[in-house]
Symmetry: C2
């Protein structure tokens, strides 16, 4: 089970801890506050030790993107438009839960392999309805792109005023509904 002893000093920080700390810092203080020194101090370690685990600051950011993408939740339904609607809401919920990370998600594309895995359960529903794979990917990606763009408009890099939420909720629903109807 790979519990064999390994030579040398055991690590005091792990990749996963670093990512948790990174998200915490971003949520609390914003993207530009996530310096290597700041991230190190959040872990009780110097900035330089992070380079044992990540190639660069940008590698940390890319890992944060994949980490957050993996937290998107949705439930499959019998009809694919319903599944897609659930996916869009789950994706948006994750984005609004991390408003200061939205610009990061927008800038750093999700790893292609990870992206495929993420939407694989969606594609099953399309196949069952006789929609070919290429068209299904177009539809899913269109919804994803609309959702991200909409979240960008809402948060604009900083957490939005709470009282504006209903306006954006209504707008999002209208756009999503139109998109799904148009693709149906």
């Amino acid at each position: 089970m790979d519990t064999a002893r390994r030579p040398g000093r055991p690590p005091t920080i792990h990749r996963h801890d670093v990512l948790i700390a990174a998200v915490t810092v971003i949520d609390a203080e914003g993207l530009e506050a996530l310096t290597m020194r700041r991230l190190g101090s959040a872990l009780g370690v110097t900035a330089m030790s992070l380079y044992r685990h990540f190639d660069s600051r940008d590698a940390v950011l890319a890992a944060v993107v994949d980490f957050l993408a993996a937290t998107v939740e949705f439930v499959p339904h019998k009809k694919w438009p319903e599944t897609l609607r659930s996916f869009a809401r789950g994706y948006r919920e994750m984005l609004l839960n991390h408003p200061r990370a939205v610009a990061l998600l927008a800038t750093h594309p999700i790893d292609q392999q990870r992206g495929r895995e993420l939407i694989a359960p969606l594609l099953d529903g399309f196949a069952a309805a006789g929609v070919d794979d290429e068209r299904a990917v177009t539809i899913v990606q269109s919804v994803a792109v609309f959702t991200l763009g909409h979240a960008l408009a809402q948060v604009g890099g900083e957490p939005p005023e709470p009282e504006t939420a209903p306006y954006y909720d209504t707008w999002f629903d209208a756009g999503l509904t139109a998109l799904l109807k148009g693709f149906a």
Copy 2:
């Protein structure tokens, strides 16, 4: 006509020149290459003199956003869906002409006043068709958000491979058509 002499030294750089230079640097070398020192040197001036014209680097970036937004072109048609399609294509064309500025456009929302002015000609077409203003704004914004999100997916911060263009063109058209059909 305001040609009266003013006291003091005449400026050697003007706001407009700074913005042109900024876009040139971004297009050629990317967003993170646009440092105050680099921008100054592109204008034959030190970084510090830029602070006479802009409050901060971020103020320069915000001005670049407004500058680029103003270059979007589209032609009005009799039917609003056609006008909207023209707007979407014009917006997208601007974005793809400045791939390394797309992340900037995504991060810095267009000034609200400027945004209203930009889409004013679009709203006229809706009013003529009896669509109320609130709904018209929702539709236009939905198209804009989809277009920006799509461009982000295509360029991802760096200029995309040219041979992938047809794929993105087809996808964009499919999404835009679905959106317009859904809103019609």
